[in-house]
């Protein structure tokens, strides 16, 4: 476990009118770890995530990435700096093929997206190799020429993960990567997230409310409840935490009955 913080949030708050969706949340993501943010519905997980990734800016508090303050940095520039993110509902280009979805990010990273001139043969070959590599990583090569809209929800999410990797990030933010997926698809996503960490050496921060998945995957867990931090610790610490059990685990168990 590395000791430097790749992402750091200090007392981040976000209000919507009178609703304090996120209140003084601080968190540090160590480089090279898988870190999870969990909490029941309405806990402010996605709000917090959006404030970290620049979907909107926090009303209070500061955010740092790799030591640099990014609190009010435009989202596209954060991607240039080495962040990637996915959304609860896969954010893709539905009418474009899987290939074209990923290729746009690869062109972006290569600085070719703004050009009116087509890429040279050599550049194109490099781009294609990179697209194949990314699609290979999420195992979508066979769908390469299909419009993403035709893919299953799980495959769309994998495509989105490949897109978020196309800009070669150091940190990947995944917003409820398992939401709305069947059991078998969940397993695929879990192994891909493991691969982000184990094979690509990336730092991962993800939001999830499936406790079983989180305990098996994360090295560090932050628990949110009603916009505030309830607890933070390793999976075993979180599993043993009384407050978490009352506020979260208990409720989930009750919900299942």
């Amino acid at each position: 476990m590395g000791s430097t913080l790749l992402l750091e949030a200090q007392e981040v708050s976000k209000y919507f009118g009178g609703v304090h969706a996120c209140e003084g949340v601080s968190l540090g993501v160590r480089e090279g770890t898988i870190h999870a943010v969990i909490g029941p519905n309405g806990a402010g997980k996605t709000t917090f995530f959006n404030a970290l990734s620049g979907f909107y800016y926090p009303d209070r508090g500061r955010v740092f990435f790799d030591g640099e303050e990014i609190t009010r940095m435009p989202n596209w520039r954060r991607i240039e700096r080495g962040m990637g993110r996915t959304f609860q509902t896969p954010s893709i280009f539905p009418e474009l093929t899987v290939h074209d979805n990923v290729a746009l990010g690869v062109r972006s990273k290569a600085g070719l997206a703004f050009r009116a001139r087509p890429p040279s043969g050599e550049q194109q070959a490099v781009l294609e190799r990179r697209v194949d590599e990314l699609l290979g990583f999420v195992n979508l090569v066979r769908f390469k020429e299909r419009p993403v809209a035709e893919l299953s929800h799980g495959s769309q999410r994998l495509c989105e993960i490949a897109m978020s990797l196309s800009t070669e990030p150091r940190l990947v933010l995944l917003d409820e990567p398992m939401a709305g997926l069947a059991e078998s698809e969940t397993e695929r996503i879990i192994s891909v997230i493991r691969g982000l960490h184990d094979r690509l050496g990336l730092t991962v921060l993800f939001v999830e409310h499936n406790m079983r998945v989180v305990l098996g995957l994360a090295e560090m867990i932050t628990v949110l409840d009603r916009g505030r931090i309830l607890a933070e610790g390793t999976p075993s610490e979180i599993a043993a935490n009384e407050a978490v059990r009352d506020a979260y685990l208990g409720k989930e168990v009750l919900e299942r009955v």
């Binding site: 800016y57 435009p74 989202n75 959304f87 539905p94 703004f114 009116a116």
Partner: protein, 337 residues
């Protein structure tokens, strides 16, 4: 794909247009009307770049078209420039207009973009309308058609001559447009239309792309407007009115937004249809309106768009456009700080 329907259409249309001076008398249409179609199409294409590719409703493009017309007309009237200089000055006037209003438009999306583009368009309209001493105001402004200005030839083009010159400019514009929308830049515009948030989360400043799209769009409209002015030897304020912008948008939707040839088809139906029907009745707008309704019902993606979709080659549809109709916070976030 390479030798598929797209290429056939291209070759067929260019041959048809090249023969137009001989064909148009057969349907009792003057060649100047076909000429008008081509120039109207340039404006429709400029609207298509924003509407069909970038996903922004361009309800002020007539102002760029009119800036081209007035730019050419005023420079002919007051500075006695030749044809080529007038064309370039008219086009430059439109580009200059876009450089002024572009920075404001670039931050708006969906209906807000549409409303602001109407507002800016009307500003130019009222300038032409009110600045009577220079522009002739409501009565419009006459000017003589200048000589061509290529080397030592003091030729002034008329009729078919002017038409073929327009055709050369038109074909060059179509080719440039095709290269543009198929370039990495053009593909990014299409991606912006489908999901601007994702474009930004791929590390691209979408506003920069939108701004350049607005500039290119205005330049194209200005080119069409400059030639249109010299076709009629006349400029009048209603050219810049937002109804005129609406006609361009209408032609794009009629022909097929997001397609290369759709604007030509839509403009041809609109301009020639108007010419023929209005020779029989003053109520031509009713018939054009009915035709438009029939086309939208029969061809939901526009005539060409729907035909291409049937053959499975339509690059775009409009289904996801509603999602773009409101401004997303991910885009707005740029402008708080």
């Amino acid at each position: 794909m390479r030798f598929g329907p797209t290429r056939l259409i291209t070759v067929g249309v260019v041959i048809l247009l090249a023969l137009a001076p001989f064909l148009s008398p057969l349907i009792h249409v003057d060649i100047s009307i076909v000429n008008e179609v081509l120039l109207f199409t340039l404006a429709a294409m400029s609207a298509n770049l924003l509407l069909g590719y970038t996903g922004l409703p361009p309800f002020g493009n007539a102002a760029f078209f009119g800036l081209g017309t007035y730019g050419a007309g005023l420079s002919i009237k007051y500075f006695h420039v030749n044809f080529i200089e007038a064309t370039l000055l008219g086009t430059a006037a439109a580009l200059l207009g876009a450089l002024v209003v572009g920075p404001f438009l670039v931050r708006r999306r969906g209906i807000y973009f549409g409303l602001l583009s109407i507002a800016f368009g009307q500003v130019f309209y009222f300038i032409a309308y009110r600045f009577t001493d220079v522009t002739g105001g409501e009565d419009g402004m006459n000017f003589a058609r200048p000589y061509l200005g290529i080397s030592n030839f003091h030729v002034t083009l008329h009729g078919s001559g002017f038409y073929y010159l327009t055709l050369v400019v038109f074909v060059a514009s179509i080719l440039a447009f095709k290269l543009l929308v198929e370039s990495p830049f053009g593909r990014t515009l299409v991606a912006i239309r489908q999901n601007e948030v994702r474009v930004r989360y791929l590390g691209l400043d979408s506003n920069r792309f939108v701004f350049v799209a607005i500039l290119i769009s205005a330049t194209m409209a200005g080119l069409g407007g400059a030639l249109f002015g010299m076709l009629n030897n006349f400029a009048w304020p209603l050219l810049m009115d937002w109804h005129q912008s609406g006609d361009f948008v209408l032609s794009v939707i009629l022909g097929g937004s997001g397609t290369i040839w759709g604007p030509l088809l839509g403009s041809a139906i609109y301009v020639i249809g108007k010419d023929i029907i209005s020779s029989y009745t003053n109520l031509w707008q009713i018939f054009i309106g009915a035709l438009f309704v029939a086309c939208v019902l029969g061809f939901p993606r526009g005539i060409l768009g729907s035909i291409l979709a049937r053959f499975g080659t339509a690059p775009l549809s409009n289904e996801s456009e509603e999602a773009n109709w409101t401004q997303s916070p991910a885009i707005a976030a740029d402008h708080h700080g």
